[in-house]
């Protein structure tokens, strides 16, 4: 551009052409992605913005929304099920360290060169191919206290049996068990990360006489910390949205005794069963803020435990 301003005339005209061509290219590009832009505005951004407005309304879906200010939010704080569902969801955060421990542990075992390695990898990955709904149905049978496989095995081993999903104390751990069974997706990501750890670091550690534990702690974990970080962040968001398993596996839904009434399940009930869409929108925004805060905390802390290759 600076050239064009110094030498008016011909150059200006070519510059004009260039700008026009650039604009044309931009327009063509926009035209090509316009279906996505349209979809994003109409089906994602639009509803998100409208849901902010609706969260301040008494909106019963069939009648127009009525502005009620902060009423929905105020009510939520006095709603015992809001707190119950929040604490049920918080309990599921136990799954985060468990998932990392089991997923990473499995990945490390499967990273070792043993015979039938590809076979083992396939076997452990296989459950995550099963859709959540199908695996939930399957686990309903495994965890059946009377005729299920789990209790049959415990009985054989002369161990005390468990009521699994039928008892308010063991229902959430039972669901976690099912989730850990389907850990394959996370495991594969850890496995890929493990294979990306530079070999020379291990060699250097060997020369320094490091034990295998020291190698895991000082080489492996720091090297794959960006992946662990990614898994923690997506895990947090996923747990806040915990829904499907409870929706399918519990009778009455969220039972027994509201022990599996997770936040998203309660939100769904308000929105689609109780005609309280405004209330549900308020719940959704509170969930968004909580997830955002939790994620921010993890991000802030990441400087202390996540190592990127170029920085350290």
């Amino acid at each position: 551009m600076s050239v064009a301003t110094q030498q008016p005339g011909l150059h200006q005209r070519t510059a004009g052409f260039a700008v026009r061509a650039q604009r044309r290219r931009l327009l063509t590009g926009l035209l090509f992605i316009s279906p996505w832009i349209f979809g994003f505005l109409v089906f994602t951004l639009g509803p998100i913005i409208i849901s902010i407005y609706l969260s301040f309304c008494d909106y019963r879906v069939l009648t127009p929304p009525v502005w009620v200010g902060l009423d929905n939010y105020r009510q939520l704080f006095h709603d015992q099920y809001f707190w119950k569902s929040l604490s049920n969801t918080a309990f599921m955060f136990l799954e985060l360290p468990l998932g990392i421990f089991v997923g990473l542990g499995l990945a490390m075992l499967l990273n070792a060169s043993v015979r039938f390695q590809p076979g083992f990898r396939t076997i452990f990955y296989l459950p995550s191919v099963v859709p959540t709904v199908a695996s939930a149905m399957l686990w309903l049978w495994i965890l059946n206290p009377d005729i299920g496989l789990a209790n049959a095995v415990l009985e054989r081993l002369h161990l005390p049996t468990c009521s699994w999903l039928m008892s308010a104390t063991t229902s959430k751990p039972s669901i976690m068990l099912l989730d850990l069974w389907g850990i394959g997706g996370g495991m594969i990501i850890y496995l890929a990360a493990l294979q990306g750890v530079p070999q020379h670091l291990y060699e250097a550690a060997d020369l320094d006489g490091a034990s295998s534990w020291q190698k895991v702690w000082h080489v492996t974990l720091p090297s794959i910390s960006p992946v662990v970080f990614f898994m923690v962040v997506t895990g947090i968001i996923g747990i806040f949205q915990y829904f499907t398993q409870a929706y399918i596996m519990t009778v009455p839904r969220g039972g027994p005794e509201h022990s599996t009434l997770f936040y998203a399940l309660y939100l769904f009930q308000n929105a689609f069963e109780y005609f309280k869409m405004g209330y549900a929108c308020a719940m959704a925004w509170i969930l968004f803020i909580i997830s955002l805060l939790a994620t921010l905390i993890v991000f802030r802390s990441s400087a202390r435990w996540v190592y990127y290759e170029e920085s350290r």
Partner: protein, 443 residues
């Protein structure tokens, strides 16, 4: 290039327009097309289509077309929200009636009823009243559902009971249950009596869920507390609620030959009139009996009490042809339509003269069993859940309360007081239910 784009654009427009076009069945000349949405699928959809065909053949002004919504009221909710509902629709879940009426989505049927009938006294007492909300009728059943006691005569014989003498009172039911339940150590082998939903038990004790005079939710009604106390007692009698929940998790599919009643895991149960048909289909060799529900010994006036439900048809306020839709609804209440549909669908006719039609209630033992339930449905003690805008919440809360009480986590009185408080609060958020001037409450 430009031409290609133009051609593509025209093609797209034509394609979209074609997509928007309605692929209607051939509507005979001069007839008004009425679309009805219903949730029946498979065989039941066929039955309803038969009924629709009979209506189309019976007159020459209106042509009804059925669209199956696949057992999903959500589609109707979305259509109502979008302001493009069908001319009339069936609700799968009667609990929605109150909410829809309260939100002004349904057309009141009162003036139609006044103009063309049917006379309300010709309908069984608990049928159209299920669609009654704050002074208006909003919904009408084609057929109703009614509950009765089913028992396995083989199980009775094994336990040394007279197979032709069902329990008539709750005390008797309790004694029978004790004798019919088989336990082996910690495990249940056979349940004497499978507990029904708590809403049915509450009605058995003469409990009322709502007081229309005071606009109050009345879950703390002493009768309902008494019912829940008995409910827990019956669970404890057979091994405890948690054990029984575990046992019933291993049941086979409901609509199949693997049902616990057919596999001998349950000796007595409460089910609807359709159960006789299931017995015929899945275990034609089974020796079973049907009787009215037992009543509490201390309240003999409650003899004959049952619980009614059903699928209800409504005309949305935005229906384009409400008069024609009404013609279809009105036809459903004729003798012919009732017997035709009841013979196929095995629902209880709600038009009283049709209840004793020999085609429905005699011929074989399954028809006779069906006849027993028809008589039960027509009893003045037949009850139902009143239409309220908060029914789905109310039902969920009742289920939870029953679970808390049955497992002993909460006392029956406490569990029910919790339901009352929560549902009442929700109800008061609807105009017309707002508490007048309660101290501390907002107007």
């Amino acid at each position: 290039m430009r031409r290609t784009v133009a051609v593509a654009a025209i093609g797209l427009v034509v394609f979209l327009a074609a997509g928007c076009q309605r692929f209607d069945v051939d509507v005979p000349q001069g007839r008004t097309l009425i679309t009805v949405w219903s949730g029946w699928t498979g065989e039941e959809e066929q039955f309803f289509t038969e009924a629709v065909k009979a209506f189309n053949a019976a007159q020459d002004r209106i042509f009804v077309k059925n669209m199956s919504t696949q057992e999903d009221d959500g589609k109707i909710m979305r259509a109502l929200t979008a302001g493009v509902p069908p001319d009339c629709f069936f609700l799968w879940e009667p609990s929605y009636i109150g909410a829809l009426a309260a939100n002004n989505a349904l057309m009141p049927l009162d003036h139609f009823l006044k103009e063309t009938g049917p006379p309300l006294e010709r309908l069984i007492p608990g049928s159209i009243k299920q669609g009654y909300y704050r002074g208006h009728y909003y919904a009408m059943p084609f057929l109703v559902d009614a509950y009765a006691l089913y028992w396995s005569k083989d199980a009775f014989r094994q336990a040394g009971l007279n197979p032709d003498r069902p329990p008539r009172t709750l005390k008797e039911l309790e004694a029978y249950t004790k004798r019919l339940t088989i336990r082996q150590g910690d495990k249940i082998k056979r349940l004497g009596f499978e507990m029904p939903g708590f809403n049915i038990v509450a009605v058995l004790f003469g409990g009322h869920f709502f007081d229309p005079q005071r606009n109050r939710i009345t879950t703390s009604d002493p009768r309902i507390v008494e019912a829940l106390t008995w409910y827990k007692h019956m669970f404890d009698l057979q091994g405890g609620a948690q054990r029984i929940d575990s046992f019933s998790q291993g049941y086979g599919a409901y609509n199949s030959a693997n049902h616990q009643f057919f596999t001998g895991k349950v000796a007595m149960m409460i089910s609807g009139q359709w159960w006789a048909g299931y017995c015929k289909r899945y275990r034609p060799d089974m020796d079973f009996g049907v009787a009215p529900l037992p009543y509490p010994d201390q309240y003999p006036e409650l003899e004959g009490t049952t619980y009614l439900g059903g699928n209800f048809v409504c005309i949305p306020r935005e229906s384009r042809h409400p008069r024609e839709a009404w013609q279809f609804l009105r036809w459903m209440q004729t003798y012919r339509a009732q017997v035709l549909f009841a013979s196929l669908m095995r629902g209880v006719p709600n038009y009283r003269p049709a209840l004793r039609d020999p085609a429905l209630t005699s011929g074989d033992r399954w028809n006779e069993a069906f006849g027993v339930v028809c008589r039960v449905a027509n009893h003045p003690n037949a009850r139902f859940f009143p239409a309220l805008p908060v029914n789905l919440l109310y039902m969920n809360e009742l289920d939870s309360a029953a679970q808390y009480a049955a497992r002993g986590t909460k006392t029956p009185a406490r569990a029910l007081a919790d339901v009352q408080r929560r549902v009442q609060k929700e109800l008061e958020s609807y105009p017309g239910y707002r508490a007048a001037a309660r101290p501390g409450g907002r107007a």
